[in-house]
């Protein structure tokens, strides 16, 4: 019997394909209603922190340096009220083999795939994770396919994604490139079925637990060098794994740093729109992923996402594209460092937030990423200009994503704009209730309190208002 490979038929086989390609029976953690045992899932399918460190260090991942940005701090203090301006640091994750922190997630996923006897790995990603999986698969001797959304219907590729394809190929992967659309998932499922490879999803427990080493290292490095934990840690937030893993690692180290998420504001742009695809200058770390994945994590490519950022986020801010570009150029100009856009999103936020903090406090941006052709501010800005985006100096708070990019007329105009976390928490609770057919149990209410980093009172209050 031939298997039907049309869209509906393949999507109908999703659960079966997923089970075979991830090797996790997620039903073991389900309660039957809203609650599921998140910690049990992380424990039984993930690895201990020590095991993850061993795995990562054995493939040259991790132990990246922390750099103090003294000139950027000095510039922030010039913009801040008297006595304000925390010391700004970055953790130079670009020093990982594939040029970003994603090597941590990939190291674990690929290790796990090899241990289970898979011959290859597949990941659906247009981001740094592709190169990370390709790099780790190369070390492990596994085959690797990366499926990426790259071109609009005119065949014009986003420069940054084109560069990521090049890097994946340079590291030995097959890169399957697609035009814009969520049906990428359909081709992804077909490839998993055809090859029998491991689904190196970004959202499995191994992938997320792989980032815990980053949070843990931060605490250890700060204690050794500065005698205390950083007061605030800023994470660029998209799918939520970066923030979730880092925060979990900080907690495992006993650190109480404030955890802040930061995303580039792309409000108004539809992520699945062919016409808008090349009107954005950021391919990840933006609100188009950050907002939906934070307020409903289980929209990912696995049944239960291990990335659940609302559990860990103390604060969530957005930043304009023009502000990130400005800080990226400032980093090169004042610190002699050229880095890619992901970490610089959090850095632009940290530059503003440092100005609210005292001078003896410390704020850390927990990642940097590599930069190069396509994946650099100059090609991104000139690409935006070619696509009809107006680029000028002014007030970045007036930037309209897809129409303008506004560099701040003065660095003091760089602002971290608060996202209403309670609004996102209410949205998460509402979606959970809408997806549940039965009556809510006490366990469900406690679960929702954990999911939203609130308490029973908050959850009950939201439930009453629905």
């Amino acid at each position: 019997m031939t298997i039907a490979n049309d869209y509906q038929s393949v999507m109908g086989r999703k659960a079966e394909i997923m089970l075979k390609s991830v090797g996790i029976d997620y039903s073991a953690f389900e309660s039957g209603s809203i609650a599921f045992d998140y910690e049990k899932m992380m424990r039984e399918t993930g690895y201990t922190l020590e095991e993850m460190q061993e795995i990562q260090y054995s493939v040259n991942v991790g132990n990246t340096p922390v750099l103090e940005l003294k000139n950027l701090t000095a510039l922030a203090r010039k913009c801040a009220p008297l006595g304000k301006g925390a010391r700004i640091f970055i953790k130079d994750e670009a020093a990982n083999p594939s040029g970003s922190f994603k090597a941590r997630r990939a190291a674990n996923a690929v290790y796990h795939a090899k241990r289970l006897g898979y011959k290859g790995v597949i990941a659906a990603t247009s981001g740094n994770y592709g190169a990370a999986v390709a790099s780790q698969a190369a070390i492990a001797g596994l085959k690797c396919i990366i499926v990426q959304e790259c071109y609009d219907s005119k065949g014009v590729g986003q420069p940054e994604i084109v560069e990521k394809a090049r890097k994946c190929e340079a590291l030995g992967a097959e890169v399957v490139q697609l035009s814009v659309g969520p049906e990428l998932f359909y081709k992804f499922l077909l490839l998993l079925e055809e090859t029998g490879y491991f689904n190196a999803s970004l959202y499995t427990p191994f992938g997320i637990a792989g980032v815990e080493t980053l949070g843990y290292e931060i605490a250890m490095q700060f204690r050794e060098k500065y005698g205390k934990d950083p007061d605030a840690v800023v994470c660029t937030n998209a799918g939520g794994g970066n923030l979730t893993g880092t925060a979990r690692g900080l907690r495992k180290a006993g650190a109480n740093s404030t955890v802040i998420g930061a995303s580039v504001n792309l409000a108004g742009l539809h992520m699945a729109s062919d016409g808008q695809f090349n009107r954005k200058s950021f391919t990840t770390g933006h609100t188009g992923f950050g907002m939906p994945f934070s307020s409903w994590p289980d929209r990912s490519d696995v049944p239960r996402s291990a990335a659940r950022p609302l559990r860990y986020m103390d604060r969530y801010v957005t930043i304009a594209q023009g502000e990130v570009f400005y800080i990226t150029e400032t980093l090169a100009s004042l610190e002699g460092l050229e880095k890619g856009p992901a970490g610089n999103t959090a850095l632009a936020a940290a530059f503003a937030i440092a100005q609210e903090m005292d001078q003896d406090e410390m704020i850390l941006v927990q990642e940097t990423e590599y930069t190069g052709a396509g994946k650099h501010i100059q090609p991104q800005i000139s690409f935006a200009k070619d696509n009809g985006i107006e680029v000028f100096f002014g007030d970045p708070s007036e930037e309209v994503p897809g129409k303008t990019i506004i560099f701040p007329s003065h660095p003091s105009m760089i602002k971290a704009r608060e996202v209403d976390l309670d609004h996102m928490r209410r949205s998460l609770i509402k979606t959970a209730v809408n997806n549940c057919s039965g009556v809510l149990t006490e366990e469900d209410i406690l679960f929702l309190a954990e999911e939203t980093k609130t308490d029973e009172g908050f959850v009950k209050g939201v439930l009453k208002s629905l």
Binding site: D6, D274, Q276, A373, I381, V391, F393
Partner: protein, 100 residues
Amino acid sequence: MIKKGEWVRIHKIILQPSERAPQVPEDTKQVPLEMWDKGFLQEDAEIGDEVTIETVTGRAETGTLIEVNPYYEHDFGKFVPELLTIDKQVRGILFGGDQA
């Protein structure tokens, strides 16, 4: 004539506009879902022919032959004068006008 065994790039329509997922926005629904892949050509062919390739993972994939010895052309973009303005400004604020 492109010889069997050459490194090539192919293009293929994965979903016609009528087959696209219901949740995609209107503009995306008007166009097909396209795919590009690379591999070793399995038979002698000309640009525009329907061909089979063997990818680096050993998979067979079919599609229209569009390029032989494909290479990347992405670069560092055109000159963006605003970046020099930013340099001058931040160095001026931090170190003073003379050293900017």
